[in-house]
Amino acid sequence: MDRAEKTALTLAVALMAFFAGLIVYAAKALNIDVPTCITDVKPFTEGKVIQHAPNRYELHYLAKMWYFEPAEVEIPAGSVVDIYLTSGDVIHGFQIDNTNVNLMAVPGTVAYARYKFDKPGVYHIVCHEYCGIGHQDMAAKIVVK
């Protein structure tokens, strides 16, 4: 290997190591993490809205061919929401628009995310994993007031 090649190789490794460092820093120090493995919540068979305190909610989303339960939720601005998601049949997806909440609904498992809804508005949720012929109509929303 000549000098130019060695330089290129070093730069490539250094750049990727830098990216790796940023990812680990974001995940471990800033707690910007991906949905984790939930082993203490059993998959549920109905959707639920549970209010623990004025600004503290727990949403249980059940994804089924081809709807989400609950389909529409209203919460006050500034609410901290724990979102649990499971599927009643096949694989579904779950993304809340303009947030980093991006989950998969896999039967037999429960996905989890926490989000603080600061800005009032309508937050659309779409199913983003193919789940059969009605997939394109599978949506829900959270209205933040």
């Binding site: 130019a4 090649e5 949905p35 061919m65 628009d97 896999v106 983003h128 949506a139």
Partner: protein
């Protein structure tokens, strides 16, 4: 070199058959953008439903076309460089298995019995012929490795002691060994999970396990598509760019193949970042390995650029002291000799640059939350497998068709313009899909009848512009493909003008180091397989024992009611889960 007639016919069939199917695959690609933008506001066109067309688009373009063309390229490379005949019996067996399997799966897809997309995630279940067909295609693609390439490789080594095998052989050989390793998990998934459920032998399936096994295959497979394109970038491109160009470094190229052999496997979990059921740190480890596998691609970028610069500067002394001016001397559009192929390589490389960057974004763990399952993802892989890989395969298919049949390439002008139309279209497509993805535009969705339909309550006007832009891009890409197809079928249907004569332009190495550690493949293969296994043990534990509460019955795409009977055992398991 002269090629035996039987083998020649088999090779031509292995090129023409997948390309005839590709015509359907590309048609359904065009239909995708039309449906999604709402140009077509319907569930089906000409008897083919949206998700059925999407399955055809994915399976034909990404699985069938790539696999069969790679087998053809491997056969040609081994035949040409080792100068040892291929065995007709082996080749016939491979061809029959691959074509038979493909036709079986095609029947299931065309009759709407397999609307499961090319990732076939259970509990959605297809007709058993779909899975068995795919398995036969895979088995057929492996046959030449064990019964033709490996014996020829060993014989060549024995006859040429101490010599390095030609670089192209080295690359195709490593690539196919990777293929054998990566198909193990998907074959396990098909044989032990999907086929039994599809045949009704079992009633339930663990979807998380199936997904994990699928992605243990599903990411390495992208390198299986990519490496043959790299082989051509290393051997053919530097030679044809000036006619006497050289490869900058043979050692660096071999190092790249070994790095892919090691790093292609412990990466599949980066497709499952958002998934419940798998511990985050295992996902993070796979994310870091994925950044590692970017390194050999960056070395390739350097070596290819250095080879081009060296070759151009050697040919045109006036560019000797230039930093960038030499780039202007690359024959981007030229009809002279073999230079028409340069346009395929250069257009592909420019697309792959974008694909590399978006790929790193996808793999970047927490950043993936923003783009997972949005249109950003198809935007990305249309510039990689739909960019460099497809363009190199189309270019080389046309080249080898002409060589193996002794027919002059017809409509060469169209063939030179085709990759640039493809490039421009794909670049616009990637832009539209990526930016729409940031706004949450989902992938794999018939958005035209819901989200992009002004009359629907689900209407999302912010996505309209991007979807319309992707229609424009899709049309450009298809025009590019039609240009190529006119040249390809024009050549195929024209009379032979000379005797068939196989010749692969091959660049010599400028730096040609021995690198003995890279010449023995067996230790690397063992190491790579072990790393693969070790990297998946924790994830497999999670999806079988720790994070999954119960299995699921099978469903078809039309009905929310299970098609298999869930056993009462499910209740027991539920109770067990409660007790935990």
């Amino acid at each position: 070199m002269k090629v035996d007639k039987t083998i020649r016919n088999i090779l031509v069939a292995e090129i023409v058959f997948p390309i005839v199917l590709l015509v359907f695959g590309i048609y359904h690609g065009l239909m995708q953008v039309l449906y999604r933008a709402g140009v077509i506001k319907d569930m089906s066109v000409a008897g083919i439903e949206y998700y059925q067309g999407l399955t055809l688009h994915g399976v034909i373009n990404a699985i069938v076309f790539t696999t069969i063309i790679i087998v053809a390229l491997g056969n040609i490379v081994f035949l040409y460089y080792l100068k040892k005949p291929l065995r007709p019996a082996v080749q016939w067996l491979s061809l029959i298995l691959m074509f038979g399997g493909t036709l079986m799966a095609a029947w299931a897809m065309f009759t709407g019995k397999a609307n499961v997309l090319y990732t076939f995630y259970p509990p959605l279940i297809a007709h058993w012929t779909f899975y068995l067909g795919a398995a036969l295609l895979i088995v057929g693609s492996i046959v030449p490795l064990f019964f033709d390439w490996l014996p020829n490789y060993i014989a060549w080594k024995r006859e040429n002691p101490g010599q390095k095998v030609p670089l192209a052989v080295y690359g195709m050989f490593v690539n196919h060994i990777m293929w054998v390793i990566m198909v193990v998990p998907v074959v396990i998934e098909v044989l032990f999970q999907l086929l039994p459920l599809s045949l009704g032998l079992v009633q339930e399936i663990n979807p998380s396990l199936a997904r994990t096994l699928f992605w243990a295959f599903g990411h390495p497979v992208v390198y299986f598509w990519l490496l043959p394109a790299y082989v051509m970038l290393y051997t053919v491109l530097p030679k044809i760019v000036t006619g006497e160009g050289k490869l900058y470094s043979d050692g660096a190229a071999r190092l790249v193949f070994i790095l892919f052999l090691i790093l292609s496997f412990p990466v599949g979990l980066h497709h499952q970042f958002t998934e419940p059921g798998i511990t985050n740190n295992y996902k993070l480890i796979h994310a870091l390995f994925t950044l590692g596998v970017a390194v050999p691609s960056m070395i390739t970028a350097f070596t290819v650029a250095a080879s081009l610069e060296y070759s151009i500067k050697a040919k045109y002394p006036e560019t000797k002291d230039s930093y960038l001016y030499w780039l202007a001397k690359i024959p981007y559009i030229s009809l002279e000799g073999n230079r028409w192929l340069v346009s395929y390589f250069m257009a592909g490389l420019f697309l792959f640059f974008v694909g590399g960057i978006t790929g790193i974004i996808n793999a970047s763990y927490n950043m993936n939350q923003v783009v997972h399952n949005t249109s950003f993802v198809p935007g990305h892989f249309h510039t990689t497998v739909g960019g460099l890989v497809t363009l190199v395969f189309l270019g080389m298919s046309l080249y080898f068709l002409s060589q193996l049949t002794g027919k002059e390439i017809r409509f060469k002008g169209l063939a030179v313009l085709a990759p640039w139309l493809w490039w421009q279209g794909m670049l616009i497509f990637e832009y539209a899909m990526s930016v729409a993805g940031f706004h949450g535009f989902p992938r794999r969705t018939n958005t035209g009848i819901s989200y992009l339909n002004p009359e629907s309550p689900l209407y999302r006007p912010e996505w309209v512009g991007y979807a319309e832009l992707s229609v424009f891009a899709g049309v450009l890409i298809v025009v590019g493909f039609v240009f190529w197809a006119i040249s390809f079928f024009g050549t195929l249907l024209s009379p032979a003008t000379k005797e068939a004569d196989l010749e692969i332009p091959t660049a010599e190495a400028y730096h040609d180091e021995k690198m003995p550690a890279l010449q023995k493949l067996a230790p690397w293969v063992v190491f790579s397989s072990l790393l693969f296994l070790v990297s998946y043990i924790p994830a497999l534990y999670d999806v079988t024992k720790r994070g999954v509460f119960f299995d699921s019955p099978g469903y078809n795409d039309k009905n929310p009611v299970p098609i298999t009977k869930p056993k009462s055992a499910k209740e027991d398991k539920n109770e067990k889960a409660e007790l935990r």
